[in-house]
């Protein structure tokens, strides 16, 4: 189970803006540790945002995304008090889902 995300979602003028901060090392698989051996690749490969039972954003990540990935996007609609759900999966099969209530 991954570490919890920080998510903010706010609706303004009919658009819901979502800001996500994930907690993940995002190891490229190209770095070496103190002994000179390669640190295996470990990174989020997919992020999905859902609102009202539909996917509002689907992202695929590679190793070039920074450690503790940040993501901002917005979608049409969304009501204050309703929830947005964010889920990610990494290349080791670990995953995490968090929900946030949309603020006005």
């Amino acid at each position: 189970m991954g570490k919890p995300m920080k998510i903010r979602a706010a609706v303004k003028d009919g658009m819901t803006e979502v800001k996500i901060l994930m907690q993940h090392d995002m190891e490229t698989g190209l770095r070496k540790d103190a002994d000179g051996s390669l640190i295996p690749a470990w990174f989020i490969t997919e992020v999905k945002a859902e609102y009202d039972g539909r996917v509002v954003l689907d992202a695929q990540f590679g190793q070039s995304i920074s450690k503790n990935p940040y993501l901002m996007f917005s979608f049409k609609g969304g009501s204050a008090g309703e929830k947005v759900k964010i889920s990610w999966v990494d290349n080791k099969g670990d995953s995490r889902s968090d929900e946030v209530t949309i603020s006005a």
Binding site: M15, M26, T28, L30, R31, K32, D33, I39, P40, T45, E46, K48, R54, V55, V56, L57, D58, A59, Q60, F61, G62, Q63, S64, I65, S66, K67, P69, Y70, L71, M72, F73, S74, F75, K76, G77, S87, V89, D90, N91, K92, G93, D94, S95
Partner: protein
């Protein structure tokens, strides 16, 4: 000698394990009725922009700095965290992708934009050295790109 053999075996076991885990982990999260694209391995292991473009089915995208706004810093003091924003005035946007042309794996992210979601994303990427950030947008079935150079004073892939 025996240590070497052991290490080799351990390596083989661990990489095999990761592959299997990734396979099962990916599959188990896909619930029926959700049309999620599978992680595009050929594109994400591409070593050059042209290779990544063809893996995404985006050969010869039209150059368009007018319709695509790529927001990156001119100079990045820390290559480990470079903010990248992409927005576009193009209609019917289905996909947005970010690449860093000098990174070992050039493709950083591919966003699928459903109807109703704004064609605008912001994230942060790692840059090993001074390079061009490439934004790719698929609009109404056609691909467009633009790029900007970011000067990196301290690389983000050290270790």
């Amino acid at each position: 000698m025996s240590k070497e053999i052991d290490l080799g075996r351990r390596k083989a076991l661990s990489t095999g394990g990761i592959g299997l885990l990734a396979l099962f982990g990916g599959a188990s999260l896909l619930r029926p009725g959700e049309a999620l694209a599978e992680w595009n391995q050929p594109a994400f292991t591409s070593k050059a922009v042209d290779e990544a473009l063809s893996s995404l089915g985006a050969t010869n995208p039209e150059e368009s700095s007018v319709y695509i706004r790529l927001t990156v810093p001119e100079i990045a003091e820390n290559g480990a965290v470079v903010p990248v924003g992409i927005s576009t005035s193009l209609p019917k946007v289905e996909q947005i992708a970010i690449m860093v042309d000098k990174n070992p794996n050039v493709l950083a992210a591919v966003f699928t934009i459903p109807e109703g979601t704004a064609p605008e994303v912001t994230t942060r990427v790692k840059m090993g050295k001074t390079a061009h950030v490439v934004a790719l947008v698929k609009s109404d079935g056609k691909y467009y790109r633009t790029s900007k150079e970011v000067k990196v004073t301290a690389g983000g892939c050290g270790g």
